[in-house]
């Protein structure tokens, strides 16, 4: 029976599809002639998506391993770390008399800085939106490929280059940059400020400038593709929410990353050409620096003008993925499709006018802070609309509780927990107590770290068959989910208490603070779960790579019974995605359980008398 249906669908695209004079090349065309151009310098969006994903996974392992090392220091400061000396070398200082190895404080700061930079930019920006925008935009809008496959390839290779430079900086004898991922001057502007501020910072700037280029090349391509290459019938209001989310994400990146670039240029001028954009009244070893007239706050404005949209660049793709995957596995249309789109747009707009809430305690005028408090709290409205709609989508659904769905539900849970603490931090008065404490660490790790990872995992488990033609192991997936959600809450929940008590973030050790002594056990607890969380992720990594080659094979085109167009393409993916005509779209993406039909794919014409769309 199932085979018959598939056959009919094939006929539908072949006979009634949109003919764009595309000719499939069975033996590969000029873009796929050999191994190097097929798998390495590929211009095919599906291969580039996998390149972004696997590079992101590698960086995620590196970044997570770093967090385990500095959590060891925070949880067990008395324990000897001599056993990691083979990996970290001179950064583990061994006391010759006792044989006890300690993490060097300057390297602790470098680890914290690199953990932040790697996770925010390389994993959750490139690894998340790079992977899924590339994979899904052409598939779900019915396009052959991106508007400029060449620029798309460049986008990946600029990212790769940025990664190489950053990776190299880890092995400098003075260490990588150690002034925090936000790179505030003067630590970032004066090469003599700390050991990592010299070559480490130079390479950091080079790497992130390359990264900005990568994001811009990718973003221009995503926006152009969505607006220009949609197939016939795919109006904006018929696009799946994934595409809406990637589209708005790309616009945010396109408008905010150049502002970061301008801050970087001024920083480079300050470091290398002797200007004083960000420097004034600085004393080094009692000597006044002769650079005056600048303002470090100026950098913070430029940085956070990117920095705040950046957190939405991270979370919006995850939201889009969750909306789509949740509708598929709840077998229900997404609740409030238009409200979802409008809230994505509202979040995107608001993200540009709230940046100074990161700077309440930096010396910003308190009256101006009020403005930012109001807009920050308004973001709760579209966010709450989205949460409401996800929960209502689940309500009464015919839920398949498989791994992608579990991660979707986990996402909503994390987003609520982390979002609520955002209301505390968005108030400039409460921020006087909370700023720069573990409360902030807990807040952003839950709401944009763990939540974004959950969205990413949901997407990986759901679209793995589309990427590799095989399924990931379901049992290992469930182990991964439960292990991750339990340890994530075990790590970050206690941090709220520590933060409310005023324990500052980024400190190497709390030995000398009597007030914080009684948190020793809690810090041990957090560290133990951080280590567990790390090893649980290895279950995912093993599952991922094992399933690429040995997973259960995908036997039908549309294993999840989803409605979107990527499931109408051949099981063996081809360059150009559809062998003959492009599918023509007749309905929106969420026709589940409609008029006695379990699901209706987007390219199936309306029946006589049927009311289309939403």
């Amino acid at each position: 029976m199932a085979n018959v249906t598939i056959h009919e669908e094939d006929v539908l695209i072949r006979e009634q599809g949109y003919d764009d004079h595309f000719h499939a090349h069975h033996h590969g065309d000029k873009y796929q002639t050999n191994f190097i151009f097929h798998y390495i310098f590929s211009m095919d969006h599906k291969i580039i998506a996998r390149q972004f994903l696997i590079t992101g996974i590698i960086w995620a392992i590196i970044g997570a391993a770093m967090s385990v090392v500095f959590r060891m220091q925070l949880g067990f400061p008395e324990e000897s770390l001599t056993w990691i000396k083979p990996f970290l070398g001179k950064w583990i200082v061994v006391d010759p008399s006792t044989g006890i190895g300690k993490l060097a404080p300057e390297f602790y700061y470098a680890l914290v800085t690199m953990h932040g930079t790697i996770l925010v930019f390389f994993v959750l920006t490139a690894g998340l939106s790079g992977t899924f925008s590339n994979l899904l935009i052409p598939f779900q809008i019915g396009a052959r490929d991106m508007a400029s496959p060449f620029m798309n390839m460049l986008s990946y290779w600029f990212f790769f280059l940025a990664g190489i430079v950053m990776f190299y900086s880890l092995f400098l004898s003075t260490g990588p940059f150690s002034g925090g991922w936000v790179a505030y001057p003067p630590l970032s502007a004066l090469p003599q400020a700390s050991s990592g501020s010299g070559t480490g910072m130079t390479l950091w700037l080079v790497s992130l400038t390359l990264f900005v280029v990568s994001v811009l090349l990718g973003g221009i391509n995503y926006i152009t593709t969505v607006l220009n290459l949609r197939t016939k019938g795919m109006s904006l209001w018929r696009m799946p929410l994934t595409i809406w989310a990637f589209f708005v994400t790309a616009i945010l990146g396109l408008l905010s990353f150049p502002v970061l670039a301008s801050g970087f240029f001024m920083l480079i001028f300050d470091r290398s050409l002797g200007t004083s954009f960000f420097l004034s009244d600085i004393f080094i070893a009692g000597q006044a620096l002769d650079r005056v007239g600048g303002s470090p706050i100026l950098y913070q404005h430029l940085f956070w003008f990117l920095g705040h949209p950046e957190v939405y660049i991270i979370i919006l793709p995850a939201m889009g993925i969750v909306s789509e995957v949740m509708a598929v596995h709840a077998r229900k249309p997404i609740f409030g499709y238009r409200a979802m789109v409008y809230s994505i747009l509202a979040i995107g707009f608001l993200s540009f006018i709230v940046w100074a809430h990161h700077m309440f305690m930096s010396g910003v005028n308190p009256f101006i802070s009020n403005f930012f408090v109001v807009f920050t709290l308004i973001i709760a409205v579209p966010s709450a609309v989205k949460v409401f709609n996800w929960i209502t989508t689940l309500y009464g659904g015919n839920i398949r509780l498989n791994t992608p769905m579990l991660f979707c539900i986990g996402f909503v849970s994390m987003f609520i927990s982390g979002g609520l603490t955002g209301i505390f931090l968005g108030n400039s008065a409460i921020d006087i107590q909370m700023h720069d404490t573990y409360f902030v660490v807990a807040h952003f790790h839950i709401v944009m770290g763990v939540a974004a990872f959950f969205g990413m995992f949901a997407g990986i488990y759901h679209w793995f068959p589309r990427m590799y033609g095989r399924f990931m192991n379901e049992t290992l997936g469930k182990v991964h989910f439960w292990g991750t959600i339990i340890s994530a809450y075990a790590i970050f929940w206690p941090m709220h208490y520590i933060g409310m008590a005023g324990v500052p973030r980024r400190y190497f050790s709390f030995d000398t603070f009597d007030a914080f002594k009684h948190f020793t056990e809690m810090n041990k607890f957090i560290t133990v779960f951080a280590i567990i969380a790390f090893f649980i992720q290895l279950v995912f990594v093993i599952n991922f790579f094992y399933s690429i080659w040995y997973g259960r094979k995908m036997k039908t085109k549309n294993p999840w019974n989803a409605t979107t167009l990527e499931w109408t393409t051949p099981i063996e993916p081809i360059h150009g995605n559809w062998p003959g005509n492009l599918p023509v779209v007749h309905r929106w993406a969420y026709d589940y359980n409609k008029d006695e039909r379990e699901f209706v794919q987007q390219h199936i014409p309306l029946k006589e008398g049927e009311v289309g769309d939403h």
């Binding site: 926006i223 990353f257 502002v259 301008s262 001028f269 004083s276 003008f305």
Partner: protein, 190 residues
Amino acid sequence: MENILVNKRNKIHPHKFALWAAMASITMMFGAFTSAYIVKQAAGNWLEFAMPVSFYISTLLIIISSVTLHISFSSFKIGNQSRYKSMLIVSLLLGVAFVIFQYFGWTELYAKGVDLKGNVSGSFFFLISGIHALHVIGGIAALIVATLHAYTLKFNVTEKRINRFDLVLNYWHFVDFLWIYLFIFLIISK
């Protein structure tokens, strides 16, 4: 693969749209520079100096180059080969002259004692005009390619070549307008 872009339902060529998106991005960068300029200026300790004469000349040159390039483009479309080629060369030379006069302007400022490392107002001036000049040099590179095409390829008015020339023209107008904005901004907000 070319045919993925040939889509009769598009109102605008995707490459041109992508260029406009890139221009929006560049505009944001200069918006950030000029906003930082205003913020820093409001904080005081700001050196005021007169705009060097060379900058007025260079502004005139780049405006004229925009006009000549436009003439070249419309001549190409109607098949007037000689005017197309000559106006293209004129635009290229005017573009190069713009950068040279910017350089003269910078040396004039240096001679007056306004240098990059001194007061932040001077640093901003060199930063903004310098990074703009880099964008113009990018445009000059595109014009050089266009000129090479004009003299090496067989003269043939095709859809593809019109699109390609249109991209160069759009970018060149963009750096022109960008400079006019920056020039007026730098004069007004001294």
